[in-house]
């Protein structure tokens, strides 16, 4: 394919296919129905592939293969309610599907045209039984999807469907009508900042890579080594819309004068790796990657490199060292990658979500993008909501949305009537945000001001049952494990932090330890070589700042208020309530419960391993932990 006319021909052909998948649409398609089934990691894990197979078999049996198109899509966002199925026209959203429900979907919906209300996403049906459109349900209403616009809408293994949503049009526009400086200016003016955590202006990065060294070999890299535990935005983009990343990397390649790109993706994401491989070969076939793209003298190709499970490789210089085939250790900066990066050549590295915004900015203009968000943080941000929240999943909201809107309105609040305690953003580099900052508009600068950071977008909600000292310890255990060992402050400092925290959770801490903890945190922050060490103390500092009372309770009162730290727990049997049924004594793995039938039992705390088995088994609620 060499011209815009050829691209437009495919787009017009596909427009009715992808245009059909809107809540209200004016497009008629050859098929009567499109059934979209989520093939993302969450839904695949809960069985969506079996559902697709069953659906295809049923359609075959009913002679419906010419009327119904089955599409395996990427993530719709509502992972907690998977497997998810959406039927167009009408965006009828069936949640928690299973193989045994498929018969009815085929006979009632696809043959007779009746929506099956009891399969619907519960938020779509009100008390009177009326159906609310999907886009008006609380989870989707406040979202604004740019990076995720195609996720869950198109077949990610079909380049034509991507072209049908104006895919590769931005690349054509850049190559045929814009200079390198025009592209960089557009990205600069849009105010787009890196979505991987740091928030460095993307356009500025590109400008440096273009100007610092003129000509010669340069590289464009994509950071898809999404290492934050609990964050899966990048994975969802790669699984649901892989071509957007390829297109954006080619645009970046043109802007800085690079002819080769590398995507460094986690090996733990097999579906994303598969879809990227398919997308790259399709793009090469169509001439969107390779020599002389769109008949211009611009040539660009992309290779995949698989990570091997090292968190530090999310750091830019470590990632490049790893692509070079070494231990993924960071390098001191300067020289910055824009000057000497991969294989010591000028390199830019952006994260998946950053790239996912680029084609839209080129097509719609910098002003369009800059009109969304706050003064210094433009556009939208994708968050992976997880932990103690009703609607676990993926959400994309304009910058400046408050935590309250994300957690209460979109996330549906905390399950089981528990009380919100903190939201953790930024993973092991970020901090915990307490309820008092619920109404702070989320953007890069505000989050730093309240002691956390944007990070890549993991947002883990914690309730009253989570112990904040234990959470800080959890993150430090992670960083101790993932520290590459190159610089001393990080290698030894994080270990010492962990040991102090461990001591505190065992009830052996002193008030002096708390001071030592804080001092060490600042020392590690100031002296570590790379971002991993510089941010590793954040979980400790933020919990110390907002939840000092919990630390004090562990140190002074030797109590864990949330009842998590086992060394500080004691199980007791209330003799008034105990009927002497002997159930607990039989369950106890340590033989720590003594007593005779029909007489109150007693727990021998020397033997007790605090597993809680007795409490779970007691029918009379006689056992409590203190």
């Amino acid at each position: 394919m060499k011209t815009l006319a050829e691209l437009n021909a495919i787009r017009e052909e596909m427009e009715k296919t992808v245009g059909f998948r809107q809540e209200t649409n004016d497009f008629a398609d050859d098929y009567k129905y499109h059934v979209l089934v989520c093939g993302g990691t969450g839904c695949t894990s809960s069985g969506s592939i079996d559902i697709i197979n069953k659906l295809n078999a049923e359609l075959e049996a009913n002679n419906l293969t010419n009327d119904v198109k089955v599409v395996k899509t990427g993530c719709h966002g509502l992972c907690a309610l998977g497997p998810i199925m959406i039927i167009y026209p009408g965006a009828v959203f069936y949640s928690k599907m299973s193989v045994d429900k498929i018969d009815r979907v085929v006979s009632e919906h696809l043959i007779n045209g009746n929506i099956i209300k009891e399969f619907l996403y519960p938020e779509m049906v009100n008390e009177a039984g009326d159906i609310t459109p999907l886009s008006q349900t609380p989870f989707y209403k406040k979202q604004h999807r740019i990076a995720l616009r195609n996720c869950g809408k198109i077949n990610p293994e079909c380049i034509d469907e991507y072209i049908g949503t104006r895919g590769y049009e931005a690349l054509n526009k850049v190559l045929t009508t814009m200079s390198q400086d025009d592209v960089i200016k557009c990205i600069l003016d849009s105010g787009l900042r890196g979505r991987g955590g740091g928030g460095f202006p993307t356009g500025r990065k590109w400008q440096l890579a273009k100007d610092l060294v003129k000509g010669g070999q340069k590289y464009v890299c994509c950071n898809a080594d999404e290492g934050d535990p609990g964050a899966f935005m990048d994975r969802s983009v790669l699984e649901g819309d892989p071509h957007v990343v390829l297109e954006a990397m080619a645009i970046a390649g043109y802007a800085i004068g690079a002819s080769q790109g590398y995507i460094y993706v986690r090996a733990e994401y097999p579906i994303a790796v598969d879809r990227l491989n398919i997308a790259i070969s399709q793009a090469r076939e169509k001439g969107m990657l390779g020599e002389n793209i769109f008949g211009t003298d611009f040539s660009f190709d992309i290779d995949l490199r698989l990570g091997a499970g090292a968190f530090v490789c999310g750091e830019e210089t470590a990632l490049m060292t790893s692509i070079e085939g070494n231990r993924g250790e960071p390098r001191p900066r300067p020289p910055f990658p824009a000057e000497k990066g991969l294989f010591m050549k000028p390199t830019i590295l952006n994260n998946v979500e950053t790239y996912a915004n680029i084609p839209q900015i080129i097509l719609n203009g910098a002003e369009w993008f800059a009109s969304m968000g706050t003064e210094k943080s433009k556009g939208t941000k994708v968050f992976a909501l997880g932990g103690k929240i009703n609607n676990t999943g993926l959400v994309e909201v304009p910058m400046g949305t408050t935590l309250r809107e994300v957690i209460e309105d979109i996330g549906g609040g905390i399950p089981n009537g528990k009380k919100f305690k903190a939201a953790q953003t930024g993973g092991p580099s970020g901090g915990c945000i307490p309820a008092e900052h619920f109404d702070v508009p989320i953007d890069y600068d505000n989050l730093i001001a309240i002691g956390s950071m944007m990070g890549s977008g993991g947002l883990i909600v914690m309730d009253e049952d989570n112990c904040m000292v234990d959470i800080a310890k959890f993150f430090l255990e992670f960083t101790v494990d993932e520290s590459c060992g190159k610089c001393t402050p990080c290698r030894i400092g994080t270990k010492r932090l962990y040991e102090i925290l461990d001591k505190i959770t065992k009830g052996q801490g002193t008030l002096e330890d708390l001071d030592k903890l804080e001092e060490l945190c600042y020392y590690i922050k100031e002296n570590s070589l790379c971002g991993l060490g510089q941010t590793a103390p954040n979980p400790v500092l933020s919990t110390l700042r907002y939840f000092k009372d919990e630390y004090i309770a562990h140190v002074v009162d030797k109590k864990c208020p949330a009842g998590v730290c086992k060394s500080l727990l004691r199980y007791e049997i209330d003799p008034e309530k105990c009927r002497g049924c002997t159930m607990c004594a039989r369950q106890c793995p340590a033989g720590a419960i003594e007593g005779t039938v029909k007489n109150p039992h007693v727990i021998n705390s020397d033997k007790c391993v605090k597993c809680g088995a007795c409490m779970d088994t007691c029918k009379f609620g006689a056992i409590s932990k203190k």
């Binding site: 990691t41 969450g42 894990s45 809960s46 509502l78 992972c79 907690a80 998977g82 290492g227 934050d228 535990p229 609990g230 964050a231 899966f232 994975r235 090996a267 733990e268 994401y269 490199r305 698989l306 990570g307 091997a308 499970g309 090292a310 968190f311 790893s322 692509i323 070079e324 085939g325 070494n326 231990r327 993924g328 294989f343 992976a384 997880g386 932990g387 103690k388 676990t392 999943g393 953790q424 993973g427 993991g458 883990i460 914690m462 989570n466 959470i471 959890f474 993150f475 590459c484």
Partner: protein
């Protein structure tokens, strides 16, 4: 360094070695080919014993200590063989706050092995892993490619029994 460090003696076949040499030859001219070769080698042998690292070192003319350094840096590479059924428990944040630590402890208790260990009969191996991205189903564990979500410690022995 010898294979005596490993719990199971090396038993590579000539077919496996031929495959490995084929992989090395197809990738050796690429810049930074060591990692992709190690990944493919682990697919072929299931793990990366010192014997396999030695072949790679000789073929690529890279010092063995560098190969060993790379292998031990990344958690995905394993110096020990995995069990017939490899169990990974996600200890990512989302799973952790929902109690995956208890799931892991239960597995350790039942199988009698620690993180990274393998049962004496070679049946089960156990590892803690980072987020597998199925946070919607937390807490999660996988047995080979099978994903088990929304787990409670009570369910563990029932799940293991399926593989007995």
């Amino acid at each position: 360094m010898s294979s005596t460090k490993c719990s199971v003696p090396f038993s590579g076949t000539p077919e496996q070695e031929a495959k490995l040499l084929e992989v090395i030859n197809s990738l050796r001219d690429e810049q930074g080919c060591l990692m992709p070769i190690l990944q493919k080698a682990q697919d072929i042998y299931g793990y990366l014993p010192i014997e396999v690292q030695t072949i790679i070192s000789n073929e690529l003319n890279i010092p063995l200590e560098k190969v060993y350094g790379v292998v031990t840096f990344y958690s995905q590479f394993s110096l020990n063989p995995k069990g017939k059924y490899n169990i990974s428990v996600c200890l990512g944040t989302a799973c952790y706050v929902k109690g995956s630590g208890d799931i892991f402890a239960k597995l350790q208790e039942i199988l009698g092995i620690d993180n990274g260990g393998c049962t004496a009969d070679g049946k089960f191996s156990l590892e803690a892993c980072r987020c597998i991205g199925a946070c919607g189903l937390a807490p999660v564990m996988t047995v080979n490619d099978e994903v088990y979500g929304r787990l409670t410690p009570d369910e563990i022995s029932g799940i293991l029994a399926k593989y007995e």
